[in-house]
C-alpha cells in the first residue's frame, strides 16, 4: 500500500435545515484515505455516515472545510462539473442496485461510457468484458427484473467499474442480499481492491466491515474510532 492520499477531508461541517431547527450532522470531520485502501464506515443511523458518503460522492455540498478528491478541490461545483467528476473518478454501488429497468445488463454496465460519448459498439464491447469478469456474460441481454439480487449487484459493480474510477463508493452494498451472496460480493470488492482501486463501504453489518482493512466508526458527526485491522 502506498501513501498517496486520494481523499482528504479537513474540518468539514454540514448541517441541514429541518423546519426551524438546524441539524448539525458533520462536525468538523477530518479524514484522509490513501490510494488503494479498502475501508468501511460504520455508525448508527443519524451518525452522519450517509451524509459523508454523499459529500464524498459529490452528490451533496458541505458548508465549510475542504474536500480534495485526487488533488482536485471539490466545493460548490456546477451540476455539470459535478457530473463530470462523478463520471471520471467515482463509481457508485447502491443497496437497491439502482439499475435502469428498461436497459438490459450490458446496456446498464455501458451507461457511464454513454455519458462519456463513447460509441455504442465500443462501449458495449467494453461492457461485455466487465460482465465476463463478473461471470455474467451469458446474462448480458437479460433485463434487470430477470436477474437475482446477487446478479444485479454484480452488474451494478461492473457499471461502477467500467469508467475506471479512482474510488468506489458502496452504500450498504449487501443490505439487500443474503449472507452467502453478500460474501460473494465482498470477494469481488477484494479483487477490485487488489487492482489498486480505493473502496469505501458504508455498512452497519459488522461481519462486512470485518472484511475491510480499515474501519471508521462515526458517532454524532465525528469520528469516534479509526483503526486498521491486523490480519
Amino acid at each position: 500500500m502506498n501513501n498517496v492520499p486520494i481523499i482528504t477531508i479537513s474540518e468539514v461541517n454540514k448541517s441541514y435545515e429541518v423546519g426551524n431547527n438546524k441539524l448539525h450532522v458533520l462536525k468538523g470531520l477530518n479524514l484522509t484515505i490513501n490510494e488503494g485502501e479498502m475501508i468501511s464506515i460504520m455508525g448508527a443511523s443519524g451518525s452522519g455516515k450517509s451524509t459523508l458518503l454523499n459529500i464524498l460522492g459529490i452528490l451533496d455540498n458541505y458548508d465549510s472545510g475542504a474536500y480534495h478528491l485526487n488533488n482536485t478541490f471539490i466545493q460548490n461545483l456546477s451540476e455539470k462539473k459535478a457530473a463530470y467528476y462523478r463520471n471520471q473518478y467515482i463509481g457508485f454501488v447502491f443497496q437497491s442496485f439502482n439499475l435502469i429497468s428498461f436497459k438490459n445488463a450490458m446496456e446498464n454496465v455501458a451507461l457511464p461510457l454513454y455519458y462519456q460519448k463513447v460509441s455504442r459498439r465500443k462501449r458495449n464491447a467494453i461492457a461485455m468484458e466487465y460482465l465476463d469478469k463478473m461471470g455474467l456474460k451469458d446474462w448480458a441481454t437479460h433485463m434487470p427484473n430477470e436477474l437475482s439480487g446477487g446478479q444485479k449487484q454484480r452488474i451494478a459493480i461492473a457499471r461502477a467499474m467500467i469508467s475506471k474510477p479512482k474510488v468506489i463508493l458502496a452504500d450498504e452494498p449487501t443490505g439487500a442480499l443474503d449472507s452467502k451472496t453478500s460474501l460473494e460480493v465482498m470477494d469481488i470488492f477484494d479483487e477490485i481492491n487488489a487492482q489498486g482501486i480505493t473502496i469505501i463501504i458504508v455498512t452497519h453489518e459488522r461481519d462486512i466491515a470485518e472484511r475491510t482493512k480499515r474501519i471508521i466508526h462515526l458517532k454524532d458527526g465525528v469520528i469516534e474510532q479509526d483503526y486498521y485491522k491486523l490480519n
Binding site: 460522492g57 455539470k80 457530473a83 462523478r86 439502482n98 428498461f102 457511464p112 455519458y115 457499471r159
Partner: protein
C-alpha cells in the same frame, strides 16, 4: 444524430403507460386536426362565394333610373325619367376615373303575351331575356364564350342585327347537333344572326338566368324596338387606382344635373356598388379566418398543455431513474435534452398524424365535391367548393407544434434537474 440509447429511453417512457400517452397525443392530434379542417372549410366557403361571383369586376358600380322623390326646379316629385345615349357621352367625357362604361337596356315588349315566347326559330319558340349591350359589358360581368364572339364596336356602330345567345337559348332553339353560329333567330318579328354562344361563370339561379339571355348590340336594340335613345342602366368600372365609390358619387352627380334632379335626392338614382359588397365579403372571410385561428390555436394550446402536464408526471415517475443517471455521470444538459426531445417527439408525431388526417379529410371532401360538380355543372347552391389547406399554412402549423413541444418540455425538464441527485436517489 440518431442516438439509440436516447430513443430507447423515449420510447420506453411513452410505452410505460400507453393509454395515457395515447390520450395526451390525442389532445395535440385533435388540436391540429381541427385547425386544418376548419382552415380548409373556411377556404372552401370562401372559394364557393368568390366562384359565385364569377369573373365579376370587383371595382364595378351599377346605376339605374328610378322615380324622383324631391320636387326640384319646378318638377314635382315622383317624376319618371330615363338615361339616354347623351348621358353615356357626357359620362365618358366628364369622368376620367371611369375605365369601362357599359350602357345596357333590357327589351320589355308590351302588349299581348308581353314577354312570353318572344323568340322563334322554325317551329321552336322560347321566352328569353333580351338585352342591348356594349362590348365592355362582357369585361365587367364576363361570360365564357364557348363559340363565336361577343358584340364588338362595329356591331354597335353599324347597328348590326346580330345576337349572342346563352347556352339555354341554344338548347331550346337548336337541336343538339346543330351549330347555332351563323343561323338566324327571330326576336319579336325581326331576324338576328347568331354570332356567339355563352356560358355563365356564376352558379345557381344567377347562372340559369344568364344562360337564358340574348345579347344584341344596344344601338340595334334601341332602333329596332323603338327605344329611341333610352339606356336602362350603366355598368361602370373605375380606373385601377380609383375607388368605385368615388366614381359612383361623380356619376350620380353628373346624371342628377343632367336630369334636373335635386342633389339631395338619394332615391332618384338606384345603384349597386360591387366594390362595397366585395369588401364586406373580404371582411367576412378575414373574420372567419381569424376565428378559425383563434379557436384552432386554443385547441392546440390545450393539447400542448396536456403534453406539458404529462411530461411533468413522467419526470416525477422517473425521478429516481434520473437520479441514478446523474449519479453515474449524466450532465444536466443530457437530462434536459432527453426530456425536451421526448416532449417534441410526442407533440410532433401526434401533430403530424393530425395534420395528415386533416389534410386527408379536406382532400376527400374536395374530391367528392369535384365529382359532384362534374356530374352536374351549374347545379346551383355550390356555396362550398374546393376546400384546401395551403402547404405553407400546414408547415407553419407543424413548426408551431414543434416549438410548442419544446416549450411544453421545458418546465418538466427544469423540474427534473432542479432536484438534487441525492434527493432523486432517495425518492421512492
Amino acid at each position: 444524430m440518431f442516438d439509440r440509447d436516447k430513443w430507447q429511453e423515449i420510447i420506453m417512457a411513452l410505452k410505460q403507460n400507453k393509454l395515457r400517452t395515447t390520450l395526451t397525443a390525442f389532445g395535440v392530434f385533435w388540436g391540429i386536426f381541427m385547425l386544418v379542417v376548419m382552415l380548409g372549410s373556411g377556404k372552401g366557403l370562401e372559394n364557393g362565394a368568390y366562384d359565385g361571383m364569377g369573373g365579376f369586376a370587383t371595382n364595378s358600380v351599377f346605376v339605374w333610373a328610378q322615380n324622383t322623390t324631391i320636387p326640384y326646379k319646378g318638377f314635382k316629385k315622383g317624376r319618371r325619367y330615363s338615361f339616354s345615349n347623351s348621358d353615356t357621352k357626357a359620362l365618358r367625357e366628364q369622368v376620367p376615373e371611369i375605365k369601362m362604361l357599359a350602357p345596357r337596356l333590357e327589351a320589355r315588349f308590351r302588349g299581348n303575351g308581353a314577354n312570353t315566347n318572344n323568340v322563334i326559330r322554325g317551329l321552336k319558340t322560347g321566352a328569353f331575356n333580351i338585352f342591348g349591350d356594349y362590348p365592355d359589358f362582357n369585361k365587367i360581368d364576363p361570360m365564357t364564350i364557348i363559340q363565336g364572339r361577343y358584340i364588338n364596336e362595329d356591331d354597335i356602330k353599324y347597328k348590326r342585327k346580330v345576337a349572342v345567345i346563352g347556352f339555354r337559348v341554344k338548347d331550346v332553339l337548336f337541336t343538339p347537333k346543330e351549330n347555332p353560329i351563323g343561323q338566324y333567330i327571330r326576336i319579336k318579328g325581326v331576324y338576328f344572326q347568331v354570332i356567339g354562344l355563352t356560358r355563365s361563370q356564376h352558379n345557381g339561379g344567377w347562372a340559369e338566368w344568364q344562360e337564358q339571355t340574348i345579347d344584341l348590340p344596344l344601338t340595334t336594340l334601341q332602333q329596332t324596338y323603338n327605344y329611341g335613345e333610352d339606356v336602362g342602366w350603366y355598368a361602370i368600372t373605375s380606373q385601377p387606382n380609383f375607388s368605385a365609390t368615388i366614381v359612383e358619387e361623380k356619376v350620380k352627380n353628373i346624371l342628377k344635373k343632367r336630369h334636373s334632379i335635386s342633389l339631395d335626392d338619394k332615391e332618384a338614382i338606384g345603384s349597386e356598388n360591387v366594390e362595397k359588397q366585395f369588401k364586406k365579403m373580404n371582411g367576412l372571410f378575414a373574420g372567419i379566418s381569424a376565428l378559425v385561428w383563434i379557436v384552432g390555436i386554443g385547441t392546440l394550446l390545450a393539447g400542448v398543455i396536456g403534453v406539458s402536464n404529462i411530461m411533468l408526471v413522467i419526470v416525477k415517475e422517473r425521478t429516481k431513474e434520473i437520479g441514478i443517471q446523474r449519479a453515474i455521470g449524466a450532465a444536466p444538459s443530457v437530462i434536459i435534452s432527453q426530456i425536451i426531445t421526448e416532449s417534441i417527439f410526442l407533440t410532433a408525431s401526434a401533430g403530424y398524424v393530425g395534420l395528415v388526417c386533416g389534410v386527408g379529410l379536406i382532400e376527400l371532401i374536395s374530391n367528392m365535391l369535384a365529382k359532384q360538380a362534374a356530374a352536374a355543372p351549374n347545379s346551383g347552391g355550390a356555396m362550398f367548393t374546393r376546400p384546401e389547406v395551403d402547404f405553407s399554412v400546414a408547415m407553419t402549423a407543424l413548426i408551431i407544434l414543434i416549438v410548442c413541444g419544446a416549450l411544453a418540455g421545458l418546465v418538466p425538464a427544469k423540474r427534473a434537474v432542479s432536484i438534487k441527485p441525492i434527493d432523486a436517489l432517495r425518492y421512492e
